[in-house]
């Protein structure tokens, strides 16, 4: 009898544990809400408060774009027949990759929309390399970002062209390399089984699932961004500088660490006047493609094995293409 009870408890334990965790989280939330006055006084230390403002600003700024991406992705998954997309794109990837790059201009807004959409494109049969080209190009060459760049660099209109060309080139080159080397390897994507059953149910289930996953990783990314901006003081950034390759590498790394939204990064780059124009170009090309919050999102959507290969590849190609375009145009 004892044996039976123990074995029964074993199978139920994980289930009960999970229910307990859920209960603790919701109960704590309610408790916090009731005692918020005293908690505010306790946490009034300005460094922590600064962290909380940067964290929430990054989350709230990304939220509408993430919802847009999740909804578009779920709509593709629930309402677009699996064969339609594959038929719409050119068969050969050498043609399909540039087409996907230019199509990136169609999705306005920040980089946070692109990852969920790309995931659903792949799960609807689009070749990964083609979908990834779209992922890289979308946040860097859309009209909003082009206008923001023009406003931020009024004395250097060539910066707008340089950014457009270098970003598109990076997206296409990475796409072509990926289609040669990787194919469908490493990338993890959600398989759809929504071709049967209720369409609206499938749409909502896909959207909430994608949002919970990507949103969770966005929290990780936003925490890292806030920590970076709190720990590294602004005057340290101003004290950096230099020229040549070191400056370009510094700015590329800064783009990854600061994770400024692609609609605002031109204003940040414009302010870092101690760096050469080519170094600032590298900042603008790398930032929308690969930064802390995007790496977190890419791990969420495509898996670790993917991100470990994709992120360094993009980083290197983006720097090289900035150097080449910078040498010609700037």
């Amino acid at each position: 009898m004892t044996v039976a009870a123990v074995s029964g408890g074993d199978t139920e334990a994980p289930e009960r544990k999970r229910r307990n965790v859920a209960g603790i989280v919701w109960a704590n939330l309610a408790l916090f809400f009731l005692y918020q006055e005293s908690v505010h006084r306790f946490l009034a230390y300005s460094g922590l408060r600064h962290w909380s403002t940067i964290f929430l600003a990054t989350m709230l700024q990304a939220l509408p774009f993430l919802v847009l991406g999740v909804v578009v992705g779920a709509a593709i998954s629930a309402f677009v027949p699996a064969v339609a997309l594959a038929r719409a794109l050119p068969k050969r990837s050498i043609l399909a990759v540039p087409v996907a790059g230019l199509a990136g201009a169609l999705l306005p807004g920040c980089e946070c929309s692109a990852a969920p959409v790309t995931n659903r494109l792949v799960s609807r049969g689009v070749e990964p390399a083609v979908a990834l080209t779209f992922l890289l190009a979308a946040p860097a060459i859309n009209p909003i970002v082009v206008v923001a760049t023009a406003v931020a660099f009024p004395n250097h209109p060539e910066m707008v062209w340089a950014r457009f060309i270098a970003s598109l080139a990076t997206a296409i080159i990475v796409g072509l390399i990926w289609s040669r080397v990787a194919g469908r390897k490493w990338i993890r994507f959600t398989t759809d089984d929504h071709d049967h059953g209720h369409r609206l149910d499938a749409f909502v289930a896909t959207a909430t699932n994608d949002f919970a996953q990507a949103g969770g990783f966005l929290v990780v990314g936003a925490s890292l961004v806030a920590t970076m901006q709190t720990v590294v003081p602004a005057h340290f950034l101003r004290s950096l500088g230099g020229s040549g390759f070191a400056a370009i590498l510094t700015m590329a790394c800064l783009a990854v660490l600061l994770s400024v939204c692609s609609e605002a990064d031109a204003f940040v780059a414009a302010g870092l006047i101690q760096f050469s124009l080519t170094a600032r170009l590298a900042f603008l090309v790398v930032g929308p493609m690969i930064d802390l919050k995007l790496i977190a999102l890419q791990i969420a959507v495509f898996g670790r094995a993917f991100a470990a290969r994709f992120a360094p590849l993009v980083f290197i190609i983006a720097i090289l293409s900035s150097i080449v375009v910078g040498a010609v145009l700037l």
């Binding site: 999970r18 989280v25 408060r49 600064h50 929430l56 406003v151 949002f211 806030a226 101003r238 302010g271």
Partner: protein, 245 residues
């Protein structure tokens, strides 16, 4: 994360976005132009969350979890922003990130004298950005040297500018508070120096920089002599934006 908890977390995140978007809390983090998008995102999340809550209640099938995917434990992190808002409240950026003079702002095509003539007030209300961006330009500088102007900002003592002096700062944001640039002017000639963090409405006039000016590290932005100031509450929109955008 079970579908029921996932639906709750999505609903709660949507409620947070809606609350931010429908009150002025969002202005502490984002530009006001983001408001409709934040509200739309909130409505979308709440609608999706409530739809799946109702669905989960109606047909709680045993295999449901496996069919729709678990969403991973990572989804629990979605409660973090909610916990942080409750723990810290909604706060605008404060004195923590105030630092030296702003550099590399976009060029400025705003005629302060013309604006002052068209405004009703005797003393024109400007932004700190107007003073910082306008001062290097001849016509604007002439105006600022010969007229009092009014602006608001919060007081701080991050850089020491001498006795009876203080610094008035507002942040410039182009997208959200994560890209904020502090814009500061140094005020002298005060009979009483306001407390740290106090927002003030100040009337002051631009001064030529004295030869004995402190080094760049401690000298924050243009130097102005105060005519009068009064303490105010933190405004609903605590940040400045560029005139040119």
């Amino acid at each position: 994360m079970k579908p029921l908890d996932r639906a709750r977390a999505v609903t709660a995140t949507g409620a947070l976005a809606l609350w931010m978007g429908l009150t002025n809390a969002m202005l502490k983090y984002l530009k006001s132009s983001m408001r409709p998008w934040l509200v739309l995102a909130g409505i979308g999340l709440v609608a999706m969350g409530v739809y799946s809550l109702i669905g989960e209640r109606r047909h709680a099938q045993p295999d449901h979890t496996h069919r729709t995917g678990s969403g991973g434990t990572i989804g629990w992190l979605l409660v973090t922003p909610i916990v942080i808002v409750i723990a810290f409240g909604a706060n605008a950026l404060g004195t923590f990130a105030v630092s030296g003079p702003a550099s590399g702002l976009p060029s400025y095509a705003f005629d302060i004298a013309q604006y002052a003539a068209s405004a009703d007030e005797h003393v024109p209300k400007l932004r700190i950005g107007d003073i910082i961006e306008g001062a290097p330009e001849r016509a604007n500088r002439e105006y600022l040297f010969t007229h009092d102007v009014r602006f608001i900002g919060f007081v701080n003592h991050v850089g020491y500018a001498g006795p009876r002096s203080f610094i008035v700062t507002r942040y410039l944001i182009s997208c959200c508070a994560a890209d904020a640039i502090p814009l500061s002017v140094t005020i002298n000639g005060a009979t009483t120096v306001p407390e740290n963090n106090q927002w003030i409405d100040i009337t002051a006039r631009l001064q030529p920089v004295p030869n004995s000016a402190p080094p760049q590290d401690t000298f924050f932005g243009p130097l102005m002599r105060v005519t009068k100031y009064k303490p105010i509450h933190e405004p609903d929109g605590p940040y400045e934006s560029l005139r040119s955008v």
